[in-house]
């Protein structure tokens, strides 16, 4: 806490951030910039429309649906219905890794599929071309499934991707075809796309395959997209502990895993924002409880493994988990004790998507670094303030057109994995089932929480706080570095990783040490521009 005193008062900073805005803009942004108090969490404005012209980091619903949730599944042909851009820009740009069973195994992730809509299709409709594209994809690849993703013009011209999907599914017989109305203008950010993706995968895929593939402790990993191999590391740990991973939504996943996912006994959630819908729907329909975990940070990973073991209430599993943690930790400790003296007391800021801005604070804490300010691009109030505020969240006009599925218990397949009494007992023992406390309770008093941060606000924050590292994405990376501050990309990991689990923690420590202590930051100024050292004109003659 003492290091805080070096910095200006957060309310002064907030004032500074708002000063340049026109009054209406300032009024709106004031609600999205809050000074945290972990004891009495203030309300944050989140999941509201972006202010035109403000320079946001946000993307669109299509990116949230195709790019994020469905992108990582290797054996679905993801066909984008629209002009070429949307498909092109989502082509191998998110680092979802995958590992097919064999070198010949299905893997379409290196491909980019599009209907490449032209002017005539905008005028006369694109359904015919879409059907043709589905047929051609089927003839060429015979995939198990084809997902159709709508882009901006599709909704406007009235192409019905759902009717086309149904028609082609019936025509082709052995290929599951389903559509997503994830037009870029839906909702206010990527978040709408997550919800749309959850709904359609739940409706068209989950529960189709009842095969019990065995395993004593069966879980699904929800909201883990295997960026830079994160899911591989988590899978390694689960495997070591004897926990069976039935399905992963959707890092390193296959469509059959989704179909079979209702046979698991517990859903654990990494990214709450993108996948909490799926967890809730699966619990209602099939009776599978869910629990938040966090495999970012060595301590968090250990804690998450223990929590999974406690849910199953099995002594052998609990003992095995402790053995695994004991095996993993010495290597972590050795590295952290080397690095800690070089990172301790340094300052971090994190402005990332919808979950990492929270998770990665754990890793910085392990490095002895303080998080002064953090925020999401598209988190909702529950991601900031905790799920307890959900009943008070008003769904505004921009979001109310995102479908809420009406889910009921499946008459044949609903099977409560635990009775309400058992769950209440676990909860009483401190296992927070169906709970997510959000980012703010874990952040210090006086830290600044900023939703949908604008370019202007980021630059100001850096100017005023001079953090040692700023975490965001590719669009911010070179802006911030030009200011002489290293930027760690927490979307792409700057092409490194994994950062999850114990191996990931060690990778992260080393990367941050390298970045905050790099010599390059001291080499920016040319020596002749240093006012301290005046050049002597030795060779100048009279």
């Amino acid at each position: 806490m003492e290091s805080r005193n070096k910095y200006p008062d957060p309310s002064t900073i907030k004032e500074e951030l708002l000063k340049k805005y026109p009054p209406k803009v300032a009024k709106k942004r004031a609600k999205a910039i809050v000074i945290n108090d972990p004891e009495e969490i203030p309300q944050v404005q989140a999941n509201t429309r972006t202010i035109p012209g403000i320079i946001t980091q946000r993307g669109c619903s299509y990116a949230g649906c195709k790019g994020v949730v469905l992108g990582p599944t290797r054996d679905i042909v993801n066909l984008v219905h629209g002009p070429i851009g949307c498909s092109f820009y989502a082509w191998l740009t998110r680092r979802n890794q995958t590992r097919p069973d064999s070198p010949e195994g299905e893997n379409y992730m290196t491909y980019c599929f599009s209907t490449d809509m032209q002017e005539e299709h905008v005028v006369f409709g694109g359904e015919k071309k879409l059907k043709q594209a589905i047929q051609e994809a089927y003839d060429l690849f015979h995939p198990k499934a084809i997902g159709i993703f709508s882009t901006c013009p599709v909704g406007l011209i009235g192409d019905d991707v759902h009717a086309v999907s149904k028609e082609m599914r019936e025509k082709l017989g052995d290929c599951n075809i389903f559509g997503f109305s994830c037009e870029g203008y839906k909702g206010v950010s990527q978040s709408a796309g997550h919800h749309i993706a959850n709904n359609q995968v739940f409706k068209h895929v989950v529960g189709l395959d009842d095969t019990d593939n065995g395993g004593k402790f069966k879980i699904n990993m929800l909201g883990e997209y295997n960026i830079g191999g994160d899911a591989f590391e988590i899978e390694r740990l689960l495997d070591k502990c004897g926990i069976t991973l039935v399905a992963s939504f959707s890092g390193n996943s296959t469509i059959n895993q989704f179909e079979n996912s209702h046979t698991a006994d517990l859903n654990v959630i990494m990214c709450h924002r993108s996948i909490n819908y799926m967890a809730e729907m699966m619990e209602t329909k099939y009776g599978i409880p869910w629990m938040k975990v966090n495999f970012i940070g060595a301590e968090s990973s250990a804690k998450s493994l223990r929590r999974i073991a406690r849910y199953f209430e099995d002594d052998e599993l609990m003992a095995r988990v402790e053995e695994v943690i004991a095996e993993e930790m010495p290597a972590v400790d050795a590295i952290i004790s080397d690095i800690y003296p070089r990172t301790k007391g340094k300052l971090a800021m994190l402005f990332v998507g919808g979950s990492r801005a929270h998770h990665y604070q754990e890793l910085f804490a392990e490095l002895g670094m303080e998080t002064l300010s953090a925020g999401y691009e598209f988190g909702h109030r529950d991601d900031y303030e905790g799920r307890k505020v959900i009943p008070n969240i008003k769904i505004d006009a921009d979001t109310k057109n995102i479908e809420e599925l009406k889910v009921t218990a499946d008459p044949d397949k609903f099977k409560p994995r635990r009775t309400e009494e058992e769950l209440a007992k676990l909860k009483a023992e401190g296992l927070d089932i169906r709970e997510y406390e959000g980012m703010m309770p874990d952040m210090k008093s006086g830290s600044l929480v900023i939703d949908d941060i604008s370019h202007y606000e980021s630059e100001k924050l850096i100017e005023l706080y001079k953090p040692d590292i700023f975490c965001a994405g590719i669009k911010e990376k070179y802006v911030v570095q030009k200011m002489g501050v290293p930027l760690k990309q927490l979307h792409s990991y700057d092409y490194g990783g994994p950062y999850a689990g114990f191996t990931g923690a060690m990778n992260f420590y080393k990367d941050i040490d390298r970045m905050v202590n790099s010599r390059v930051w001291k080499l920016i100024q040319a020596p002749w521009e240093d006012v301290q050292s005046e050049l002597e004109a030795t060779y100048v003659t009279q």
Binding site: R58, F88, E104, G184, K186
Partner: protein, 420 residues
Amino acid sequence: MLLRHTTKEVKEREGLTINPAKTCQPIGAMYAALGVHGCLPHSHGSQGCCSYHRSTLTRHYKEPVMAATSSFTEGASVFGGQANLLQAITTIFSVYDPDIIAVHSTCLSETIGDDLQQICKKALDDGKIPEGKKVIYAPTPSFVGSHVTGYANMVKGIAEQFAESTGEKKNQINIIAGWMEPSDMREIKRLAKELNVNIVLFPDTSDVLDAPQTGTHEFYPKGGTTIEALKSTGDSFSSLALGCISAEPAAIALEKKCGVPFLTEDMPIGLSATDRFIMSLSKAAGVNVPDEITAERGRLVDVMTDMEQYFYEKKVALFGDPDQLIPLTEFLLDLNMKPVHIVSGTPGMRFEKRMKDILKRSPGSNFKNGMGADMFLLHQWIKNEPVDLLIGNTYGKYIARDEDIPFVRFGFPILDRIGH
């Protein structure tokens, strides 16, 4: 195998594009607008486009890429985006204070029929554009042409909306840059200086997208063609458009508006096209070619002579954008190489005709552009007739690895190398 599902058998496709050799218009318009000093590009559409375009340009240049967006919601998509754009203009001028906002559209705003000209005029009439500031625009529907079309449209918009003729000719020549790299633009300026010709180069992204590390983020970097220079293009002796697809439309617009005559040449890539560029520029300005440029040319021919045995009859597959492919293919032929497979996602009869003319020197070559001309097809062609070299953007690396072909990264985008 990274592209393990690509089959050798080529089947005609009508509905499905796989691994495109193009992207959509607005990114080209954004790039062009960054070549104007003090300009903030603005994407009139939903914000996903703007983020994707900024990200792709950033990944290519490893530099900040600034742009704003109208951030359409569903309401605006149904009732029109005028209010969003007007609000954006107010916010941008008060927060980011550019001299110019250059607005382009997307498939969303084009489908609903937003009229950029009318909205920009309204902004002016309503007093939303501060004194001395300017808002220019170019419609860039993503369902027409490609990123190259978008570049051409914005460059045309720049020419049309800045050029003024005072009636007094200026001793200068306009060089309208087709879509080329900042380093290429720097080289064009160097050659003009060597020739001792006054030029106005536009757009000019050198010193914008290859800025130095100074410890300060210059929101509007030092580079970019200035407003003053752009205004003066109407008084220039003539224009030289480099690239018939990406630069010529601007030259035509400038001739129409201010009566500046123009000549279109290929981008100076390779020996023959560079020869033509030097000849045209020296002729237009009435200057002799200095010995230093003749020596540079001689050094290139020397390399070609020395390496002749390694180039002779080598088969090349290439993909990319029209104004680069035309001179590059010609250069390969000058090197005695055989460009056997060429695709470009960018459509256009003129491009097709130029390529077919050039390829008369290389009987049996496959060339396709526009619909169906994607990298999946290129890969299938390569499987049927293997090549010794592949030239194209980053996405060629998957073909190069699978087929074990030496690979030269060329064109846009190059996402996986630094310092290119």
